[in-house]
Symmetry: C2
Subunit: 175 residues, 2 copies
DNA sequence: CACAAGTGCTTGCGCACGCAACTGTTATCC
DNA sequence: GGATAACAGTTGCGTGCGCAAGCACTTGTG
């Protein structure tokens, strides 16, 4: 959104280099036209597929277990961690939240008894989040729901061979 | 997040069907283990790739043009629409926002002069959003930035043949 | 050992968004 | 034609999140 510094178009002028010959105002009139059908389809398909699946699965999880994706990912990460404990810092990455966001998330989960917070033994600055039995039970149930959704909305639509290729291809996208 | 109805685990009991033999508490101890490497890799790769690319490109757009993705998609949809005008209702889908969210978005964009709002002629209930010249200029500049990002972070990592296959595959994911 | 620099987490603040309720308009159905 | 339903858009409210500043503790350096 246009904010303080440059509220409006920081452009030189409508058209000041090439003469305006009536056609597209400049070279980038609609850059998207320069994409092939495959390029455009792949990119927009990627966005659209993600958006649709994301909201559907999240609503599903919310309806069935009153859990947001952030909640679920946090519980899942803890459930898998040795002793069900993880320091805030290490929890932030799998949950894909900033530390401040994570503080709030953990606070909410603690408030309803799904996890507990204890000061870290060997480093008094740190805090450890530990999943409770209730948390474990809930994340197991939620996993069943979620995994079913993932299969239905994603995995089932591809053959094993396709999935192997996709895994490699998505791997290329992550630095 | 656990909300009013069932703040905590709505489960029958820790283990009430199979005897707890010390091993996994029940059949779904960690359902994710049941996924093949390809399945797991494809799904998590999908999520991870989207998350990474999304934040990188959005930051890029924000830094270069003070535009969020929502802002950009709204302007882009309008720029492509006949006469640069679209009713709120028709703008909501491409921007992937609810109507209330769109109301606020359009309000912000209007405030900085990127679009204008006028009552709809043939339907007194409706409102039309129209992109201004400044909006057009900005969306062109932003498109150049964004498209470069899309190429760099996505398109370039695949061959034309792969992109064609991906387009078809993502199409399968969208109902 | 003191003092700076770095690290881990929290807090103040602002913001974009969804949901549900509301207003005003148009279509539908006796 | 008047009641009712459907629809378009806006508003009140709550919430989750990021950013930047702050506090507490630890580590490095002279």
């Amino acid at each position: 959104m246009a904010t303080p510094p440059t509220p409006l178009s920081p452009l030189p002028a409508p058209a000041d280099l090439a003469a305006d010959d009536g056609a597209p105002v400049c070279g980038n009139a609609d850059d998207w036209e320069s994409l092939s059908a495959a390029e455009s389809g792949a990119w927009h398909g990627f966005l659209q597929a993600h958006a649709e699946i994301q909201v559907e699965l999240e609503h599903e999880l919310q309806a069935a277990h009153q859990l947001s994706f952030s909640d679920y990912f946090a519980l899942l990460a803890l459930e898998r961690a040795p002793a069900g404990r993880l320091r805030m810092h290490d929890l932030a990455k799998p949950v894909r939240l900033t530390r401040s966001g994570l503080t709030r998330l953990v606070e909410r989960l603690e408030r309803v008894g799904l996890i507990e917070r204890t000061p870290c033994e060997d480093d008094a600055r740190g805090t450890e989040a530990r999943i409770t039995e209730q948390g474990r039970a809930l994340v197991h149930a939620a996993s069943a729901t979620h995994l079913a959704g993932v299969r239905r909305r994603f995995l089932e639509r591809f053959s094993p061979a396709e999935l192997a290729v996709l895994a490699e291809q998505f791997g290329r996208l992550t630095a």
